[in-house]
């Protein structure tokens, strides 16, 4: 906490220039959108994983690389990773109050989610198109 000092600015003057208040609900709304999308996609993900249990690599590649499964997996990954990014962002801004630590954590969150999404998408596409 910084020591209380005499401020000449009015309360309105203190918040001017920090951007529009209208954009504040974007992540809230996107978290709802991704959660609705995640319901059928998570069910699909669980069904896909169960159907792969006990199968060898060749069978797993064949199933994961088939169009319907690959498209569902891509949708599942993109939706949940975006949902994860918003969720962790909210946890960080709730609990990490040190400015430097907060920005490092937010950066780590973005990097983690980017790597997770791109690695998964690359793997699914490689399984689909062979090579």
């Amino acid at each position: 906490m910084e020591p209380k000092t005499v401020r000449m600015k009015t309360p309105l003057g203190q918040v001017r220039g920090f951007g529009s208040a209208r954009s504040g609900t974007t992540t809230f709304w996107h978290q709802r959108l991704t959660s609705v999308a995640a319901i059928p996609l998570t069910i699909a993900f669980i069904v896909i994983v169960i159907s792969l249990l006990g199968r060898n690599h060749a069978a797993a590649v064949q199933i994961l690389g088939s169009p319907l499964v690959a498209i569902l997996m891509l949708l599942f990954i993109v939706t949940t990773v975006y949902h994860m990014w918003i969720g962790m962002l909210e946890i960080i801004v709730d609990y990490v109050h040190d400015e430097l630590l907060k920005y490092l954590a937010l950066l780590a969150n973005l990097f983690f989610c980017t790597v997770a999404a791109l690695a998964s998408v690359y793997a699914i596409l490689k399984l689909s198109f062979g090579v």
Binding site: S35, I39, L53, H57, L64, M73, V81, A119, L127
Partner: protein, 136 residues
């Protein structure tokens, strides 16, 4: 002349240590904790997919790890966490429509979420073992 205003001790929003320990409170915490754990659980999904794309040896290693006791426990936790967070999310979506916020409904929804996540996890694992038995 500038007035020096002494800061007023304004009321703070209720913080975690003053909440009464009740089911809805615990479930709210569970939702956030399962979300955070699933975040790191995504590493398993990425590992599994990249291993499948890498080749038979990498995939066999993932399968071996998941067949160990630690791997099985991690998977069980992941399954329950995923289903619990999913059902908790549905509960939140219901609340977003301003339904189910009454005292009895809150309690009922909390119990239903917990009972649902545990029973669905059991069903998924039974299905998993049946499928595994059939695939060999």
């Amino acid at each position: 002349m500038a007035e020096t205003r002494i800061p007023v001790a304004r009321p703070l929003s209720p913080h975690i240590q003053i909440y009464k320990f009740m089911l809805t409170f615990v479930m709210s915490g569970f939702h956030r904790v399962t979300g955070a754990v699933l975040y790191f659980g995504m590493v398993l999904v990425v590992w599994w997919l990249v291993a499948a794309a890498s080749g038979p040896n990498a995939y066999a290693f993932v399968q071996w790890f998941m067949s160990t006791i630690i791997g099985r426990l991690v998977l069980l936790g992941f399954t329950w966490g995923l289903i619990h967070h999913g059902l908790g999310g549905v509960r939140h979506l219901v609340w977003d429509t301003l339904h189910g916020l009454g005292a009895n409904e809150r309690e009922w929804l909390a119990r239903a979420t917990l009972a649902g996540s545990i029973s669905l996890t059991v069903i998924v694992w039974i299905a998993g073992y049946l499928i595994m038995g059939g695939a060999r």
